[in-house]
């Protein structure tokens, strides 16, 4: 039995599952569980890759003891350590806000996961997106719920009544207010070019040409704004170790800190998925070559891992900006360029129409 036949059997099974009742809550539930598991796994992979590649790039070894030479079980050991550590709530803390902050951070991440499509199956002329939920306005929805992550920083900053946490919360909010705007405008330019706010249709619009080629400026702006949004290194002033200890998570310990840490990586993973889907062609294969008979979901995951590597590479290569430089870049550079890109994409989009 060749690979092609196995592929066809898998596809037939998927067809059967989806075509019988695509909106059955059981199927949606199983799909949701799978997607949540996949993104959890993705975040774990990202943490592991980050430690390993940072080690390589800085001429260190990285994790190398637990689970063989490559330290693949290091993360499990870390998780066990975090679960068994003492859970400390400071005496002066505002208890409900302190407890709620990691929950809000994770909620925002998981709400974003809900609309991320992994593939599009076309069965007898009907389209079935491999996603927990397909919305008409999914990219706008992602933009909206990613904004909820700011509240986690706020709640932690106020709740833990620590100078470091409050300073980090202020920095985070000042940064987020500035960077949500170029991010929103570059998403808008993509939507203008694709004539849709639905991620599935945005990906389908890239079947001939990826949007990174059609609007490279938009990609650069979106990527920088995304780095700032998820707090990766050139923009991680909210947890600058030399200045603010651990930023807004200073007073957290044990698994609460673990959740806060995990929420950041979850946002980074979801951010890489969004970059893949709206700029790198999603489940469309390479340009001019096509899919090469590889299912779309593998293309999505491969491209996502490449974007993650780019994140890690940037972290290893660049130093950290000062907070005033960050605000300057956001308001004085990125927003004018984003508006320019909007004009460009409108003109190109109209010409293509």
């Amino acid at each position: 039995m060749g690979i092609v036949e196995i592929y066809e059997i898998i596809m037939d099974t998927l067809v059967f599952i989806f075509a019988t009742n695509p909106f059955s809550p059981w199927i949606r539930g199983v799909l949701g569980g799978l997607v949540i598991g996949a993104v959890f796994g993705g975040a774990l992979v990202m943490v592991y890759l980050e430690r390993k590649f940072l080690g390589d790039m800085q001429s260190r070894i990285g994790p190398n003891r637990v689970g063989g030479r490559f330290g693949v079980l290091q993360l499990i050991a870390d998780a066990i350590k975090l679960f068994t550590k003492e859970d400390i709530i400071p005496a002066k803390a505002d208890k409900w806000l302190f407890i709620g902050a990691p929950i809000v951070a994770l909620t925002s991440g998981f709400l974003m996961v809900a609309v991320i499509p992994f593939d599009l199956l076309i069965i007898k002329g009907n389209e079935y997106a491999v996603a927990v939920s397909r919305m008409d306005i999914s990219i706008l929805y992602i933009e909206a719920v990613s904004g909820l992550a700011i509240f986690a920083t706020f709640m932690a900053g106020w709740g833990s009544s620590s100078k470091y946490a409050v300073l980090a919360a202020f920095r985070n909010v000042a940064k987020m207010i500035g960077y949500e705007i170029p991010m929103g405008i570059s998403i808008l330019s993509v939507a203008v070019m694709a004539y849709s706010l639905d991620i599935v249709e945005i990906v389908e619009a890239q079947s001939s040409i990826w949007f990174i080629i059609a609007q490279p400026l938009g990609f650069v702006i979106f990527f920088i704004a995304l780095l700032a949004d998820v707090g990766r290194i050139p923009f991680d002033q909210t947890e600058a170790e030399e200045e603010l200890v651990a930023g807004w998570a200073t007073e957290y310990s044990g698994m609460r800190w673990g959740l806060a840490f995990f929420a950041e990586y979850l946002h980074a993973v979801v951010g890489s998925f969004i970059v893949t889907l709206i700029f790198l062609g999603g489940w469309n294969g390479l340009p001019f070559v096509g899919n090469l008979y590889i299912p779309g979901i593998f293309w999505v995951i491969a491209k996502t891992i490449i974007v993650m590597m780019l994140f890690i590479w940037i972290r290893a290569a660049l130093p950290r900006y000062r907070i005033d430089q960050v605000i300057d870049i956001g308001w004085k550079v990125l927003i004018p360029l984003a508006l320019l890109n909007l004009v460009w994409s409108t003109i190109i989009g109209l010409m293509w129409a």
Binding site: L97, A169, F170, V173
Partner: protein, 85 residues
């Protein structure tokens, strides 16, 4: 057969009424601001129940993501270091 939509409607209503009372009753102004944000999110829930997803998302984007953050930012800037008994 009772319309099942009454259940989420009741839950969201209770959340909304409770949090809007807490906006007025809270001792600390930051808590008021957070309850205000919860009230706005409950309003988005009502829009979803009315099958107006676009308005719900825009409600979250504008009221929660922008106005709520601005209120919180201003409140935290002004009231830090005031001991509340």
């Amino acid at each position: 057969m009772i319309d099942l939509q009454i259940i989420p409607f009741a839950i969201i209503s209770i959340i909304m009424i409770g949090s809007s009372i807490m906006v007025v009753k809270s001792k600390e102004v930051v808590h008021s601001a957070f309850h205000c944000v919860i009230t706005m999110m409950a309003a988005a829930g009502f829009y979803v129940l009315l099958s107006a997803q676009f308005i719900a998302v825009v409600q979250i984007l504008v009221y929660v993501g922008a106005i709520g953050v601005m209120i919180l930012f201003a409140v935290m800037l002004t009231t830090r270091n005031q001991e509340v008994e």
